[in-house]
């Protein structure tokens, strides 16, 4: 039996997605991992909570109103993100085989707000032709721009048309194709998913990668570039935690992490919980476990809204991403709306979940997300005391997909193991078993 006062190679504190991916990868590498969380659920800040947990967190002392239905029907994400169908996280899922524990659904559409209207970001040439986002001539120019992007090959100068994407800023590339500011807006914010305008002055290569990721992700399943796990994002850390456990990782939820213990040389040597110390050589954890070692770099405001209808003007689909580019509402950062529904097993039947978020720019964050809330239609008051079902939380991460999480994983992996993360296919368990069975 495993005991707390044993020696581990790595202790991971917090079961957020980043920590769980790392825990899984390190266990697969043969490291002896202890993984702890102060909460009695998986996921930390990237958890999906049921109603009881949600109310405990944001409305302590209040009971969820009975008309919301059964607790088990709810898996509400604390941080809204969608997965790029062709993105790095999908690679991590498939290469570790964690995808076998999970099921996904497409997000039905990616939308952008412009001039007071919500429009679909075209997912096909057919949609592009009919899109109200551009007028006829602009459509031709945009077509040329996308053809250039898709044909561009680093090693083939003939495809460069005299632009070096590695040095020329993105603004110059837009200029070359004569794209209007409105078009730049939806390309930069709804496709390349930049939260502000600073990318315009940076080398275009990064925007190129993001645009290609978007296009290739749309090409995978058709409707939008995004996929989403049934039962909410909280399934992702749980899946990687299972991977870690299968390879010998030890899990302790609901365990207080009282002290990170250092030796006389200032090297970490253990983690104390109560009067027990688990010994280790390395510790990985989310910022909340290291209050003295982190600095606040920004603040995000989020509102979790429960709707009785789809978001108006979005073709009544079951799920969307809607980006309000900063220009459109005189801000520096975009406002994001992520909406999923009962068809993703995250809320009771006939309900829709919409999470509005942005990076805080003023000392009145609630007012900053109002343009987003205004697009949701009536946020139905669902009786007594719960007012509008709006729960506000703050955290560090505002990006709308998992690119930054994966970068973080790779960076920490490199620092922990001293080598780069190479995703290789692991031997399938069933095959392993079969081989054993046959001998």
């Amino acid at each position: 039996m495993v005991r707390l006062d044993e020696q581990y190679d790595v202790i991971v504190v917090g079961t957020g997605l980043t920590e769980c991916i790392l825990s899984g990868l390190l266990s697969v590498d043969g490291k002896k991992v202890l993984h702890m969380d102060r909460n009695d659920y998986y996921g930390g800040e990237s958890a999906s909570l049921n109603l009881t947990q949600l109310y405990r967190k944001f409305r302590p002392g209040e009971e969820p109103p009975p008309e919301l239905g059964r607790d088990r029907d709810y898996n509400i994400d604390l941080i809204p993100k969608f997965m790029m169908a062709n993105g790095e996280l999908v690679k991590m899922l498939t290469h570790t085989d964690v995808t076998r524990y999970l099921e996904f659904k497409q997000i039905s559409g990616s939308y952008v707000y412009r001039d007071g209207q919500i429009s679909k970001v075209p997912a096909s040439e057919f949609e592009a032709v009919r899109s109200p986002l551009m007028r006829l001539f602009e459509k031709r120019r945009a077509k040329k721009f996308f053809e250039y992007m898709q044909n561009w090959r680093e090693e083939d100068p003939n495809t460069h048309q005299g632009i070096d994407l590695n040095s020329v800023p993105m603004s110059k590339v837009y200029e070359k194709f004569g794209l209007e500011p409105g078009t730049q807006d939806f390309i930069g914010h709804a496709m390349a998913l930049y939260l502000n305008e600073s990318y315009l002055n940076r080398p275009a290569r990064e925007a190129y990668e993001r645009i290609i990721l978007y296009i290739s992700s749309v090409a995978r399943y058709g409707k939008s570039p995004y996929i989403y796990p049934l039962y909410g994002l909280g399934e992702l850390p749980q899946g990687f935690a299972r991977l870690s456990a299968i390879y010998g990782g030890t899990y302790m939820l609901d365990k207080s992490v009282d002290e990170i213990v250092y030796d006389s040389n200032g090297q970490v040597c253990g983690v104390r919980s109560g009067d027990k110390i688990a010994k280790t050589k390395q510790v990985i954890g989310d910022p909340s476990y290291f209050p003295g070692k982190v600095q606040k770099v920004g603040k995000v405001v989020r509102a979790i809204c429960l709707l009785k209808h789809p978001i108006p003007n979005t073709d009544d689909v079951d799920s969307i991403q809607l980006v309000i580019p900063q220009n459109q509402v005189n801000r520096k950062h975009d406002i994001y709306i992520a909406s999923v529904s009962s068809s993703h097993n995250v809320c009771a039947k006939d309900y829709y979940l919409a999470i509005v978020s942005t990076i805080v720019e003023t000392d009145n964050p609630e007012a900053e997300i109002k343009p987003g809330l205004d697009l949701l239609g009536t946020i139905k008051p669902i009786e007594d005391g719960c007012k509008d079902q709006v729960f506000i939380s703050c955290s560090y991460d505002a990006s709308s997909h998992f690119g930054t999480v994966c970068d973080d994983v790779k960076d920490i992996y490199r620092r922990v193991t001293g080598k780069d993360l190479v995703l290789k296919q692991r031997l399938r368990q069933e095959e392993e078993q079969r081989e054993i069975g046959e001998t």
Partner: protein, 245 residues
């Protein structure tokens, strides 16, 4: 405990990749059923499955490491069930089993140790958890394992057995009341193990599962993306091309 194995029982030939020994039901498409194991640490959950799948027993087995899940087919007269059996991977030891584990499970075997009274209490709390959180149609079997450790009491006039802490009648009464299948088993000797899975197979409401198959994708370069009905399944979706059958 049910001793009659009227049915053909489980089929381990499929695992070895052969089509040998298949009965006329071989042309039936196997129905995939996710089965989860629950119970206190060291009650013999993995041993039970190891006995069922490989018909073997390992003495002093280390806590479970390394297997995502095992598969085993169980053939009845009119259907073939392919169990996808999930082990806890030790996450139950510190009460840290993820809800994802029993998500969509159509069957569960909750195991206790007949020589440890407390393990039945733990089993009861797992049953409660399943009834609260899992699929409402889930078929749950309660299995009292390690009956090989129980000796009939030689000088006793009553039915008492040395080593036993959970009387059969007590557990049986609880199972009846909670609507569970009930078995006593010995993973070591093999007693009762097949019955657990065969009886579950019989009780699984197949119509329900057939109407919404779990699309386990065995091509690991893809991801299980559920397509809406009628959508073109060019990627990700599609029925599982499973195993050797």
């Amino acid at each position: 405990m049910s001793n009659n194995s009227r049915q053909n029982g489980s089929d381990s030939t499929a695992r070895a990749g052969g089509e040998n020994g298949l009965t006329p039901s071989a042309n039936l498409k196997p129905v995939q059923v996710k089965l989860v194991l629950l119970g206190e640490a060291a009650v013999g959950k993995s041993s039970l499955v190891f006995r069922f799948v490989n018909n073997e027993f390992q003495e002093n087995k280390e806590p479970t490491i390394g297997a995502a899940f095992l598969t085993q087919k169980c053939r009845l007269e009119d259907k073939v069930i392919k169990f996808e059996i999930w082990d806890t991977a030790g996450q139950e030891r510190f009460h840290s089993l993820a809800p994802m584990y029993y998500r969509n499970a159509q069957a569960a075997v909750v195991v206790y140790d007949v020589t440890k009274a407390a393990s039945l209490d733990k089993a009861k709390s797992w049953v409660k958890e399943l009834q609260r959180q899992a699929n409402p149609n889930i078929v749950i079997a309660l299995a009292g394992n390690k009956i090989d450790l129980v000796q009939p009491n030689e000088e006793g006039e009553d039915d008492s057995e040395s080593g036993r802490q959970v009387p059969t009648e007590e557990a049986k009464a609880y199972a009846l009341e909670a609507g569970l299948l009930f078995f006593e088993t010995s993973a070591k000797k093999g007693d009762g193990v097949r019955d657990v899975f065969t009886e579950i197979a019989k009780k699984i409401p197949l119509e329900h599962i057939i109407s919404r198959p779990r699309q386990v994708n065995n091509n690991s370069n893809q991801i299980n993306v559920i397509q809406p009905p009628g959508a073109n399944r060019n990627n990700g979706g599609g029925p599982a091309k499973d195993c050797a059958c």
